[in-house]
Amino acid sequence: MNPSLANRLTIGFAIAFALLAGLAVIGVGRFFQERQDFENATARSYQREATALVRLAQGVHPAAARERISAERRQRRQLRANVSDDTRDTAILVGAGLVAGLIGAVLLFGGLITSMRRPLEELVDASRRLADGDLDTRVKVGGPAETAALGAAFNEMAGELQREAGRRDQLDRMKDEFVLTASHELRSPLTSVQGFAELLMLERERLSPKQVETVEIILDNTRHLVRLLNDLLDLARSDAGRLAIKPVPTEVGPLIEDAARTIRAQTEAGGQTLSTEIEPGLPRVRVEPDRIRQVLVNLLTNAHEYCPADASILVRAVRVGDEVEIAVIDDGPGIPAEQLEHIFDRFTRGDAGLTQRVGGTGLGLAISKSLVELHGGTIAADSTPGEGATFRVRLPAPTGSSSQSPSPTAAESG
């Protein structure tokens, strides 16, 4: 373990302080010593001058006495001058001590900051990588003890995150495995139920009308269960990343006509109008046709099931930038805002009053969203209650795949 930052600071300050204190003590000591010397010398000088003055007064060697007096006065002037020189020297000494201490402190801090900067920068980088989902991110544990401890704590946290993500992935896999296995296991008994109900229907002429109706109910519900299982499987595959698509350049027009054909018998029977409107010269989209047809059939089935008998349903395809937008527009009852918000969530279904006659599984739009996003596209819904609903699917149309057969298509049936 490297010495900690606090320890280094303490040692640094102690050294700087000792240096300063030492210099100050030396300086002050020297000052007092010199002051003492000066006072002693001055006192001795006054003593000698006094002796000379006494001699002058007594008239003993008056010339020599006078000379002594002026010599002593000169010497005292000299002493005073020396003392102020020494005071200045002492001040310089103390000042130098201060400057040396400051420089030491600056160097110390500079070194510390430099030694901390790299580990801190590395930590910032690592945090960003971790936040971006790279759970393998670890930092080198180094530098002063504080950054080293921070680095170790960071690594510990990243490790915990990774273990947590691993546990979550494992749970997810278990869940996906469970759904796949469950839907597989449910299929065998369903095969029997549906198969024997169909067998009964093959002999319907020997059944009473009541019995025929009963068998029809069994068959209806069996088909609903099968649809639910298929949808659940799709979602589980999608969650497990096993819902693979094989996109190919695809003409939008035939895809839409194909999907519309699937539902047309039902809309006609229900007295609804189904029309398509495809912009001429649309580029081809890169999709797996079966999967996008599944999405369109799902949107059309929803429109058909949630709209009243006289409703109009329109499928319109237009180019929007690098994308093709396929909109399924109806003039039905629309979707209230609070339902629109969760419309692509699993097991979200329209108005409870309608669900009695609507045979959906509540998974269709969730699957559609998964499928469209798997193609790199987007799906959105908007609605004005009372005026209808619009579902827009946008699919990427790579440049250079412009349709070579721009056949303006417009089909209508009522």
Binding site: E185, R187, S188, T191, S192, G195, F196, L202, L229, N230
Partner: protein
């Protein structure tokens, strides 16, 4: 009309298959696992089935294992794999084993009859 050998570990499914296939005029033999399929084929001699309907997942010996074994023995009878998987293709059938088709559960019998007719007409 064809001779069809059906293998499934569920007696109920076997009863359903036998009933529907016989109603459509086919001659039906049944087996409860892959081993019984192999035994039946070995015993059959000149009365060999025209089509095999093998469930992909059966205990002891699966339809896939039986398929591998019978192809290794040079038996070229057309095989339809019955699977509870929605898309049996991404189930367990290795690419090198020749399969005439997949039959997903629940079984669409009308489609199955058409497939059997096509296979036996060839």
């Amino acid at each position: 009309m064809a001779r069809v050998l059906v293998a499934d570990d569920s007696e109920t499914i076997l009863l359903l298959m036998r009933t529907r296939l016989e109603m459509a005029g086919h001659e039906v033999q049944t087996a409860v696992d892959g081993q019984e399929v192999m035994d039946t084929l070995h015993r059959s001699g000149g009365e060999a089935p025209d089509v095999l309907l093998l469930d992909a997942m059966m205990p002891r010996k699966s339809g896939i294992d039986a398929l591998r074994e019978l192809r290794a023995e040079g038996i070229e009878t057309p095989v339809l794999i019955v699977s509870a998987h929605q898309e049996a293709e991404d189930a367990t059938t290795p690419a090198d084993l020749e399969v005439s088709g997949y039959v997903p559960k629940p079984i669409d019998f009308e489609a199955l009859f058409i497939t059997i007719e096509k296979l036996t007409a060839e």
